[in-house]
């Protein structure tokens, strides 16, 4: 790729280290795409990070803003990007040229963990592995639209699309029916039959009321009518993929539809990474730790490695570090399956002492964590494998906002509550769950959104601006049903750009 025109290939001594780490990773059972490491100076790494890892993106100010912040953070010594890897085949990973060898080795081991995860985790199974090309392709298309329609107009539209890019359906990639494009075609024969409402053939008039009892026909008619009504509903079912709905139905121009399509595609590409943050980082950290401490570390590197590893894993008081939770949960699972601390027999055991010393010497740990990394995402990972002992050991607690003191305060350390809290935070990647329930609300061609309230209120200031984005594309008022401080409310962004609330 040679982003800056210089060679970014690894120098020979690092290439040799890469071979070494790669061999260890393979031997440990990691199964990864070919991984190309590039050595780049800090400024390039900041640029790449600003563009979410990709060397070519469509023109947009936010990449410039990201760059501004990364480069300042680096300059001021506040943050440093150690590693970056992108989910493509082959995978690309960047090493910062100013890092020490022990850091580079750690990063390599960490990266092989990520790439193994990308390749094998189920939630990544539908991602576009040629995203490097797609991103470059998007860049060309957007630039062309900018040439034709002007930079401001296209960029403004991109801003609108981006404000909706969390309104997609996380299950869509796995829903084969939804993937088939085109609505159900209506079959004329079926429609004729429908009018017959299940009436049986009858040649003798006097038998009619026995063969086709009026009550039955009536019931059938009602059922048909309700079915027909369902069909008329638009969309048929609540639609999570608001971007898709607008793409198909909003009165926008072809180029706008294409921009919307590109941004949606990119949003789906990044989705699995949001769904597996804890696992992905935990898995990669587990493996860099395994490979480094058991194999790759030289004697004189131990202190530096320990220092940096501890820095990444550090838990600040009051915060939960996904790297730490991830790695410890994997280690915990491995330990439990090695010792057989799972299943009915173990769960039913109430003797604390016996539980503590439970060891059936099963040795199933390694196998189990490989299985977990294959099938889980963060939600199922926490749901299935978080244990009361774990919550206890890592001193997790729940907190709530106290209106009176204006502070977040610790509530309790109850396992059930902690787990529920973590899960509700992970649901829908921590984003509000919102769908379009009606595209022809009150028969006025207005959109009705519904927010599935799972405990968190929406930030209405942001909701207003987001609904404005939909309004601009849809050109008709937009409503949202939500719950605010325990009350059901309906908010409307109307034709006069006003935002009004109703109970």
């Amino acid at each position: 790729m040679g982003a800056s025109g210089q060679s970014t290939a690894l120098p020979p001594e690092l290439a040799k280290l890469q071979e070494e780490i790669r061999a260890y990773a393979e031997k440990s059972g990691l199964d990864f795409f070919e991984t190309i490491f590039e050595m780049v100076p800090s400024d390039t790494i900041n640029s790449l990070a600003a563009q979410e890892g990709f060397p070519v993106r469509y023109p947009h100010w936010r990449f410039g803003m990201n760059y501004d912040q990364y480069s300042k953070g680096y300059e001021w010594g506040l943050q440093k990007i150690y590693e970056m890897v992108i989910n493509t085949k082959p995978a690309y990973a960047y090493l910062m040229s100013s890092n020490s060898h022990v850091d580079q080795k750690t990063v390599m081991a960490h990266v092989y963990g990520h790439v193994d995860f990308f390749k094998n985790n189920y939630w990544f199974s539908k991602t576009n592995r040629k995203m490097l090309d797609s991103m470059a392709n998007h860049a060309v298309r957007v630039r062309r639209y900018m040439d034709t329609h002007g930079q401001d107009e296209v960029e403004n539209f991109i801003d609108l699309c981006l404000s909706l890019d969390n309104l997609i359906d996380p299950h869509m990639p796995f829903n084969t029916a939804a993937n088939k494009t085109g609505a159900k075609e209506s079959d004329p024969e079926v429609e004729v039959k429908a009018q017959e409402v299940g009436r049986l053939k009858n040649d003798r008039g006097y038998m009619e009321k026995f063969i086709n009892p009026p009550e039955f026909i009536e019931a059938q008619k009602k059922k048909m009518a309700s079915n027909a009504k369902q069909e008329q509903k638009f969309p048929n079912h609540p639609e999570r993929d608001v971007m898709h709905f607008l793409m198909e139905n909003a009165p926008i121009q072809d180029w706008q539809q294409d921009v919307l399509r590109m941004i949606r595609e990119e949003a789906y590409y990044f989705l699995p990474q949001m769904q597996t943050k804890i696992m992905n980082e935990g898995w990669a950290s587990y493996w860099h730790s395994e490979i480094m401490t058991k194999k790759a570390l030289r004697d004189n590197e131990i202190i530096d490695f320990a220092d940096h590893h501890a820095g990444v894993m550090a838990m600040q008081p009051g915060k939960v570090n996904p790297y730490k939770v991830g790695i410890e949960l994997f280690r915990d699972i491995e330990d439990r399956w090695n010792r057989g601390r799972f299943g009915k027999e173990y769960e039913d055991c109430t003797d604390l002492k016996e539980r503590q010393h439970w060891d059936k010497k099963l040795g199933l740990g390694r196998k189990k964590i490989f299985e977990v990394r294959k099938v889980c995402n963060d939600v199922t990972f926490i749901d299935q494998y978080l244990t009361p002992e774990f919550v206890d050991r890592f001193k997790l607690y729940t907190y709530e906002y106290n209106k009176r003191t204006g502070q977040h305060e610790i509530v309790d350390r109850n396992f059930k509550n902690v787990k529920e809290r973590i899960l509700s935070g992970l649901t829908n990647q921590g984003q509000p769950t919102i769908s379009i329930v009606d595209g022809n609300f009150e028969n006025r061609g207005e959109i009705l959104l519904s927010h599935k309230h799972l405990g968190g209120d929406l930030d209405m200031k942001y909701a207003r601006e987001t609904m404005r984005s939909i309004f601009i594309m849809w050109t008709r008022p937009v409503h949202i049903e939500t719950e605010l401080e325990g009350r059901k409310r309906l908010f409307t962004y109307n034709q006069n750009h006003e935002f009004v609330a109703k109970d």
């Binding site: 860049a139 509530v411 902690v418 935070g425």
Partner: protein
């Protein structure tokens, strides 16, 4: 920086500039928030610009880690710059992150000029300030190899060979010797620039409170910024006065507070003598700015001031600016007196009344809007 990001970064800067323009009034009033970075760069804090998305409100509960009893506050609060750690809330507080953007004073002046539609100043007087600019437009027979002019060198060699009859057109072999070597070299261009001096005068008597001084400080920042963008070399002198006037440095100018009475003429006299001593009007663009709350000791003294302006100062300066910062104690009479004498349309005198912080923007426009 890779190409695309460079372009996006420029675009981002453009958007930031737009934001600053939009809220220029706010930024002008609060220029004390600006951080100075070196001589010519300021960093301006501003709210993060972000893409609006549906998101949860702040003040949500969550999961934390560490010691503590029920009811204890979660540590690390009140520091919105920190990510809340747990994946669930990542990005939730993104809107509270501040941006720090850096601008050179020149860029700032440009923004100010564009937004307030300030005309460029037509300098007067001779261009007496000399500045040297080196340009590599010349050729020399001596120099470092890195600057060797290949073509010229061979031309010289060719000339020499032809002149000495060594040149054979059938076998054109040209060998430069040391004498033929030519090097790129520089020429010094002397540029003549206009020089300018700003003479700030301020009433530091008791009736000028902190708020008034803050306004003056803000105004001087923007006046400096603008005039520096218009002239290559700008000097600034500072005079404070109550019943007597003295010249001070910038620091003292804003810090001093006296309790005496007010004789404005003392400052004008000092201003005149500074001009006479150091700034011949034929060579300098001169900008006296006087700020007070409009109280003068006596009508007698006001008359002295007006005479001084009419007979001496106004003929020497580009424009004389008087800014009256209203205070609770000031009568504001001086403004009225000047207005009576010079009228609102005076060419060489600009009067501006600044009622409070909100008036700063308009006042800057008053002062600089005439292109003097």
């Amino acid at each position: 920086m890779i190409g695309g990001v460079k372009r996006d970064h420029a675009r981002f800067r453009q958007i930031i500039r737009g934001k600053i323009k939009q809220d220029l009034k706010k930024y002008i009033q609060h220029s004390e928030m600006f951080g100075r970075k070196g001589k010519d760069v300021v960093s301006i804090p501003m709210p993060q610009i972000d893409i609006p998305r549906f998101r949860f409100g702040s003040n949500q509960g969550g999961v934390g880690q560490g010691e503590g009893e029920a009811g204890d506050p979660v540590p690390g609060q009140g520091n919105p710059g920190d990510e809340p750690g747990e994946g669930q809330q990542a990005g939730q507080n993104a809107g509270e992150h501040g941006l720090e953007v850096e601008f050179t004073l020149e860029e700032l002046a440009e923004i100010l000029g564009e937004e307030l539609e300030l005309p460029k100043i037509e300098p007067r007087g001779q261009k007496t300030l000399k500045s040297k600019v080196d340009r590599y437009t010349s050729i020399s027979a001596e120099g470092p190899n890195s600057l060797r002019h290949f073509k010229r060198t061979f031309k010289e060699a060719l000339k020499r060979q032809i002149a000495s009859g060594l040149y054979d057109p059938d076998n054109p072999m040209i060998l430069p010797i040391k004498k033929d070597m030519r090097y790129r070299s520089w020429k010094s261009d002397v540029k003549h620039e206009n020089a300018a001096v700003i003479i700030y005068m301020m009433d530091v008597s008791g009736s000028m409170g902190d708020e008034q001084k803050e306004i003056v400080r803000t105004e001087t920042f923007w006046i400096n910024t603008w005039l520096k963008s218009q002239y290559k070399g700008v000097e600034a002198r500072y005079i404070i006065h109550d019943a007597t006037a003295k010249e001070v440095d910038e620091e003292t100018f804003f810090r001093t507070r006296e309790s005496g009475g007010t004789l404005i003429s003392s400052a004008y006299k000092l201003c005149e003598s500074i001009i006479n001593a150091d700034y011949p009007p034929s060579d300098w663009n001169i900008y006296p700015f006087h700020f007070s709350d409009g109280d003068n000791w006596s009508t007698e003294d006001t008359k002295v001031c007006i005479d001084l302006m009419k007979n001496s100062l106004l003929s020497k300066v580009n424009v004389f600016c008087y800014g009256q910062v209203d205070s609770r104690y000031g009568s504001g009479q001086f403004y009225k007196d000047l207005l009576e004498v010079f009228g609102p349309e005076a060419e060489e005198v600009i009067l501006s009344r600044i009622e409070n912080k909100d008036g700063i923007l308009q006042s800057i426009k008053d002062f600089l809007g005439k292109g003097k």
